[in-house]
Symmetry: C2
């Protein structure tokens, strides 16, 4: 039996990235799509509480069972696993291809990766794919063979329990991609700047903008280093947030 592959994303079901991903996955297994009906970038691991969800069968792709959902990327995985696919557990969850990088700290804000992590929570091997190009018409063609081979490896070897893979792919350029690096999440953050403006009704509002700051510039074992050197980065991400080293330090507190 061909593996059952659940495809989702955070840019919405009509985006070019998920179309490319569906095409790749159709070569590897039976594909079911459950994806948001609108862009959900930056949604992190949000889920819908206190409001109902809409779920409609749709026909954007050829020969694929697909549903569009009003919820977040994490909602899509939950509804796929616990409503759409009650008869058969997916063998793989893939999310993306995201239009834009999800390296380092961005994994926390990423709807793409939260969908993959939700898959891992469900005990399903799960991978999030992102291209370092925010353009809605980005060129994904160079990414295709790499995404295929990483997915085949995951289907063959499995993914360690409790882990989802965060795969980032450099934007298309004239430079060759020297290979795939398994690496750690760089220590980095956003240094925000807020731009104050006044609307036509005289009320103030703020645009969040900012600069990316990498604290790991000297280190060669991070995803940011890999991408800066045109490698594809693969970071294993866990949903057990416990800081085990910190447990000991806290035990000395007089609580």
């Amino acid at each position: 039996m061909k593996p059952l592959i659940l495809v989702t994303n955070d840019d919405g079901i009509t985006s070019k990235g998920i179309r490319t991903l569906v095409e790749i996955m159709q070569e590897l297994g039976e594909v079911v799509v459950v994806a948001p009906n609108s862009p959900q970038s930056g949604m992190g691991h949000a889920i819908t509480i206190g409001e109902p969800l809409r779920l409609y069968e749709t026909h954007i792709f050829d020969n694929v069972v697909e549903y569009e959902c009003s919820g977040t990327p994490a909602d899509c995985v939950k509804i796929a696993k616990h409503y759409v696919l009650l008869d058969r557990k997916p063998d793989l969850v893939v999310s993306g291809i995201n239009h834009g990088s999800n390296n380092s700290i961005n994994v926390l804000y990423s709807g793409t990766m939260s969908a993959a992590i939700e898959g891992a929570i469900e005990g399903i091997p799960s991978i999030g794919f992102s291209l370092c190009d925010f353009n809605e018409d980005a060129d994904f063609s160079h990414a295709v063979p790499f995404i295929k081979s990483i997915t085949e490896s995951a289907l063959e070897n499995g993914i360690p329990i409790g882990i989802a893979l965060n795969v980032n792919i450099p934007a298309r350029s004239d430079l060759p991609i020297p290979g795939i690096k398994v690496c750690r999440q760089a220590h980095a953050k956003w240094q925000e700047k807020f731009d104050y403006r006044v609307d036509p009704n005289g009320r103030g509002y703020l645009w969040m903008a900012g600069e990316f700051v990498n604290f790991d510039t000297e280190k060669e074992d991070t995803d940011v280093w890999a991408l800066d050197n045109n490698f594809i980065s693969v970071v294993p991400c866990q949903y057990d947030l416990t800081g085990y080293e910190a447990l000991e330090k806290l035990s000395t507190w007089d609580l």
Copy 2:
């Protein structure tokens, strides 16, 4: 100089939980509140992308500088650090007191904890407090001395770099609280059930509901065990999601 304490939450600036937290923090330092203007439960680490934010000074608490923000809990911490408090970095970020538990896997979905983790990303000692009682009029009184002593310990000892504390407090009951347990995140998940209904216009919709499943029932070192035994749980949470043990396994893949 008294420590500068930033207070936020995910239930919204008018909720009883944040009022209680502000009262406690006023005894320990100078308080600034930047909190959502509406409930943001389940928002996880969502941030606002592609839309501007509203931020207004408000006067819900006595003698406190406070702002209500249209964004998510993580947005509130970003806007506090990089717009409201440009002259002085907070010495502590506290988030909550959440109306409802944020133990185990719930840390990922929690706006309360994502605000605390955002504080840790900014290099500020940060704590999320939650009461295991969803009632909007929940009784927080028994939690007050524990929250005060945990906060004092954090101000005195600092919190390890890269870590935010996830503190959960049992709901008020006749049982005594035997103490505070430093512990790990239990391995658990939600087993969702979706309840299909039809709206008055004939269109279907789904309510997400479900059952909490704890896979760590035999283990006594988890937050779920602590809370089940009426302890207060303290879990150190890290934002480096790298699964270091998995790095080695993945290195054997032929990529």
